[in-house]
Symmetry: C2
Subunit: 194 residues, 2 copies
DNA sequence: CGTCTATTTGAATGTACTCAAAAGCGGTGG
DNA sequence: CCACCGCTTTTGAGTACATTCAAATAGACG
């Protein structure tokens, strides 16, 4: 059940059987249904959530109540509002399941204890943050340098199975365009092909 | 000379006099001139560089040789291509001084040794990454939700002294617009005021 | 002083948005 | 199992935001 989480850790650190058991014991499995919320803005984000299965969107609501998807957490990723989690501040983001999901979550307090008991995890967490930062910087470049159509193609390449699972308006929101315009991009593309 | 770096560390961790000395001893001061490069793409980023004074731009060059500024490193920030630094991969970014700068740099090998000798630094580094990630996620939201003019106003608010020090084309590139369009935004604004 | 780069301005163009209407689709209850 | 409701997607016309290209002007620097 927690195999996928285990192999996730093994990608960056090696703990040995005993510590592995201990770390995994602090995570709890929960299943959440499509459209349910893992986090709502203005509450505090208290859990680190590993996505074992399914897809969630982490999204922002701006001053005019418009939503924009910051990122998707799919199999083997993490869903968290980092700022809120770290600073105990009200969450900026909402986290919502786009499909039925299986989550392995750990409460902040337990995670902090783990960081004390198993210092190797500091390294793992640092690397997680590094990768997230690198991905985020890439995202800025894409948005800056590419047109909506180019970004859409990159999206398909990066998440080849995701498009069929979620609605297009969420893809559009991730790409930073309106649902209508994404529809037009796709229409134009399928016309070109034929 | 290294006072500013010391107070930078003290913001997030407390080390005690002795360890502080030790950590600081690993950093070397260097002065670099306006327009000089701290890093050129396709070389490897081997240093963590603390900006004691001045301003640098970290920028990307896309497939069509167009530059876009990813971020500015100003007083009390860090300049690094994280991906290259961590993975020893060819740098995606260039780092160039926009003003004369004073840099406190530490080589990767020395930094790794510090992380071993002074484990408190893991925490500091993790927090640095956290903050960078939070800033980067914010940046995505701005680019998604706001017009160029709104982003320009946010830029002025966030870096009140920067605009007078660097050329507008660099500001435009950071905002993700052309230099011409930024010029038009400013013209429109000063017309409105009068 | 001359050269090189940065900035301004204008006209034409392209990219993406808004609004509205129609069609499609999925889930729910009778 | 069908009918209906609400939400998503498509399509079109009109518009706004931002770019391109070109030419003129202004600044920076040796």
């Amino acid at each position: 059940m927690k195999d996928s989480l285990l192999s996730h850790f093994r990608k960056t650190i090696s703990l040995g059987r005993e510590k592995e058991e201990y770390v995994l014991s602090k995570f709890n499995l929960s299943k959440i249904k499509k459209r349910d919320f893992l986090l709502e803005s203005n509450t505090t984000c208290q859990y680190l959530s590993y996505v074992r299965k399914g897809c969630l969107r982490i999204y922002n609501i701006d001053d005019y109540l418009l939503e924009s998807n910051v990122y998707f957490a799919v199999d083997d990723w993490w869903a968290v509002d980092l700022k809120s989690y770290i600073e105990c501040s009200p969450a900026r983001f909402n986290i919502q399941a786009l499909t039925d999901c299986e989550i392995l979550a750990i409460h902040k307090l337990n995670f902090n204890q783990l960081l004390n008991d198993v210092p190797e995890l500091e390294r793992w967490f640092r690397i997680l943050l590094q990768n997230a930062l690198i991905a985020s910087e890439n995202r800025i470049n894409y948005k800056m340098s590419f047109t909506a159509e180019q970004r859409y193609l990159e999206f398909i390449k990066k998440y080849p199975t995701l498009e069929s699972q979620i609605s297009q308006k969420h893809v559009a929101s991730y790409l930073g365009i309106t649902a209508e315009y994404l529809s037009k991009i796709k229409a134009k593309r399928s016309k070109r092909k034929s």
